[in-house]
């Protein structure tokens, strides 16, 4: 069962939200208003329409509920999901700025073609979230779709920003995990490779599109010269003239061809950004692993300290130990106090390690489930994308054959 977008979003039957409602991003509109620094700005808003799934089957076809959202609100939603579901491969948004453009394609965010492709991308994003086993039941997501006013405040009230900041800090810091989970390391590497190869593919494809455009358009010049030539011919004139029209048609046909190919590029782009989401999960796993290792290391050190205090041997360096060496032994009362403190710390430490261990295990379990789901989805979607690309090429070849056969017929009548 496929819904919306370009028809390639794989929807799982068990999804809760999409069973209940139809979602679409129906329109885009330009708005002007004052921004945060009180300056006039122009921006685009997108109309999100929702409707209960059985509405159509009842034959009544009621008007869908709708609200307008701008791109930055989609970004806010996604950031919230990233922080709240760190073990999920969160679907990506369509690109913020047009990249991998070839000369005819506008890099302007206000360009209607770009806006239209973005509208499709945003719809795709919503459908993907709505079909995700974990994300689809999120309340913030639901209110994004249904509550126009006050949604932003609701999101901030969750306090996800704080979590985001601390996590972000940790992610940016370089840390080394002692026993990296092999599966996640491989996944991260895969994400790197996927991102690299799709970038390359998109770059070369854009250049090739540019060249193809040139080839087709130059043929249009034949149209004009054949027309001029036909003016000085008697019997050859008609054939030349009509052949010229076919050359014009050939030149014009490239616009549609390349517009279709942009859809393919968009499909690849989605997975370019998905690669990043995948890598984010792997990094978050590393972080939880690291935090576990840190806690375990700390516990071990504390235990060693206790042992030393008990046996009187100093193996671990501690400032207190050194100062007591230098300034004389501590009293038995002091030592006992220390031991008691250590015991408490060790108890706490053991709790922390247990906690972190569970956290890590749960993360690994959840993340790996979602990664497997993602892998299947990726294989399916990319295969579909390749099929539709091949179909596009076939259509282009057939059009080419037709045009040249038409021209040939005209030439043979010369």
């Amino acid at each position: 069962q496929f819904l919306g977008g370009l028809g390639f979003v794989m929807v799982e039957k068990g999804t809760s939200l999409l069973k209940m409602m139809e979602i679409s991003v129906a329109e885009a509109e330009k708005r002007t208003g004052k921004n945060a620094v009180n300056m006039q700005e122009t921006y685009t808003v997108y109309l999100i329409e929702t409707r209960p799934v059985d509405a159509a089957s009842e034959g009544t076809n009621p008007v869908p509920d709708s609200l307008w959202r701008r791109y930055s609100e989609f970004e806010l939603l996604r950031n919230y999901l990233l922080v709240t579901y760190p073990f999920s491969v969160v679907p990506p948004l369509p690109e913020k700025r047009a990249e991998f453009v070839w000369h005819k394609l506008s890099a302007d965010n206000m360009d209607p073609d770009f806006v239209e492709r973005r509208r499709v991308g945003l719809e795709n994003f919503l459908l993907r979230v709505a079909s995700h086993p974990d994300l689809s039941s999120d309340k913030i997501f639901y209110s994004f779709l249904t509550e126009e006013n006050g949604w932003k405040e609701t999101v901030f009230e969750t306090g996800f920003q704080a979590k985001a900041d601390s996590r972000l800090k940790a992610l940016n810091a370089t840390f080394r995990v002692k026993n990296p989970d092999k599966r996640f390391a491989e996944m991260k590497h895969y994400g790197d490779e996927l991102q690299s190869v799709i970038s390359q593919l998109l770059r070369v494809r854009a250049r090739a599109a540019d060249r193809l455009y040139g080839v087709y358009k130059v043929h249009g010049n034949y149209g004009r010269v054949f027309s001029e030539w036909s003016a000085i011919e008697k019997e050859m004139g008609d054939g030349l003239q009509s052949a010229g029209h076919h050359m014009d048609a050939y030149a014009a046909s490239v616009d549609d061809i390349l517009e279709e190919e942009e859809h393919y590029a968009d499909q690849l782009k989605e997975y370019l950004f998905y690669a990043d989401a995948l890598r984010a999960v792997c990094r978050k796993h590393e972080l939880t692993q690291y935090e576990l290792e840190m806690a375990a290391q700390d516990l071990t050190s504390k235990k060693q300290q206790r042992e030393e205090l008990a046996t009187g041997t100093i193996r671990t360096f501690s400032l207190k130990g050194m100062t007591s060496k230098l300034f004389g032994q501590e009293t038995p009362e002091q030592r006992e106090a220390k031991v008691k403190m250590l015991e408490t710390q060790i108890e706490e430490g053991e709790e922390l390690v247990k906690e972190r261990n569970t956290e890590c295990e749960e993360f690994v379990k959840s993340a790996w489930v979602d990664i497997e789901r993602f892998k299947e989805q990726k294989d399916h979607d990319l295969r579909e994308a390749l099929i539709s690309y091949a179909i596009m090429q076939i259509s282009m070849c057939k059009k080419g054959i037709q045009v040249w056969n038409n021209a040939k017929e005209c030439f043979s009548k010369m």
Partner: protein
Amino acid sequence: MSAGTPRSLPSSGQKPIQDICHPLSAEECALSRSPDVLNPCSAGERDLILPNGTPVDTSSPASSSSLLNRLQLDDDLDGETRDLFVTVDDPKKHVSTMETYITYRVCTKTTRTEFDLPEYSVRRRYQDFDWLRNKLEESQPTHLIPPLPEKFVMKGVVDRFSEEFVETRRKALDKFLKRVADHPVLSFNEHFNAFLSAKDLNKRQGLALLTKMGESVKYVTGGYKLRARPVEFAAMGDYLDVFTQKLGTIDRIAQRIIKEQSEFLMELREYGPVYSSWSSFEEDLHDPLEGVSGCVSNCSSALEELTEDMSEDFLPVLREYVLYIESMKNVLKKRDQVQAEYETKLEAVVFREDKKTPVPSDVEKCQDRVECFNADLKADWDRWQNNKRQDFRQLLTGMADKNIQYYEKCLAAWESLIPLLQDKQDAKGETN
């Protein structure tokens, strides 16, 4: 301009000069078992050859239609049965201590009594063709002489001995001889006869005397001013001017297309392999991605062929016609000269007092010359228009054919990919 790398012709090898048999000596070709009009120089060749000696390219699926085209094109319009067939083929490289050059085999089959034998096979080099053309211009100044391919290679980059260059030249030389052979007057020229039949061309006049435009020394009648070109010849001149212009434009467009296609080809050659490197770290997607890579590669090869064909077959014919037109304009000028001489001399006579004496014979001769020239030119013009129509019909139809073949090759590649791409779908059906 060709996107591919030129291939070198096999050489006859470095030999001591005594051992090199004279390339201009005629080799009697082995007569075929059945003296077949369709196969003047068979020697076991399996190539299809048309009535006038043109070999047919049977390698492409479109060849049957182009075969039909050529048969129709070479239909003799006045219904004469042909009695002279000429072909140019079998280029060979000759290496001597002094120079390296190519010779071509010229085969003739004829029932004309002007020839001693019904068949000839001689070897000629470009110089010899050049000599022939100059002789024809000299001896038949009132006629339109078909052009030769360019003598000097303009861009130093082109290899004079590459297979592509030699083949292009051979086709042009073949066309040249066929046009002469088809001409009701030129084909009976004695120099043409010698060219086709003689063991050694007795080129007493020297090899490189005249320029490729063949400004005939004999017929320059010394600066008589023509008052006005008659309407019909003025129309010819105008037509040729515009036509030359249009041909130039078409040449530039074709070159531009070849350039854009070559650049597109470069990108494709980078594009395909990216899919291959992607496939190297995928499991399920490995085969589909490899498949796409292979497809793109096939399309690249097809495009390269298209570009090469256009370079080798299309552009040379255009350029040939430009040369043809140049020489025709010169003939028109010559005609003007002849008419001018006549008019001047006539005027001088008219103003003489003595009206009793008959018109001097040299004025009469001038009048004859003018009338002959005009008649020959008119006949040749009509003939040229017809040939031009056929030639361009063939040329443009050929261009369309090549593009169709290109798209058909690509279509086949992509269509064969679809089942491969869909292959796993059925096995995975239950997950949906």
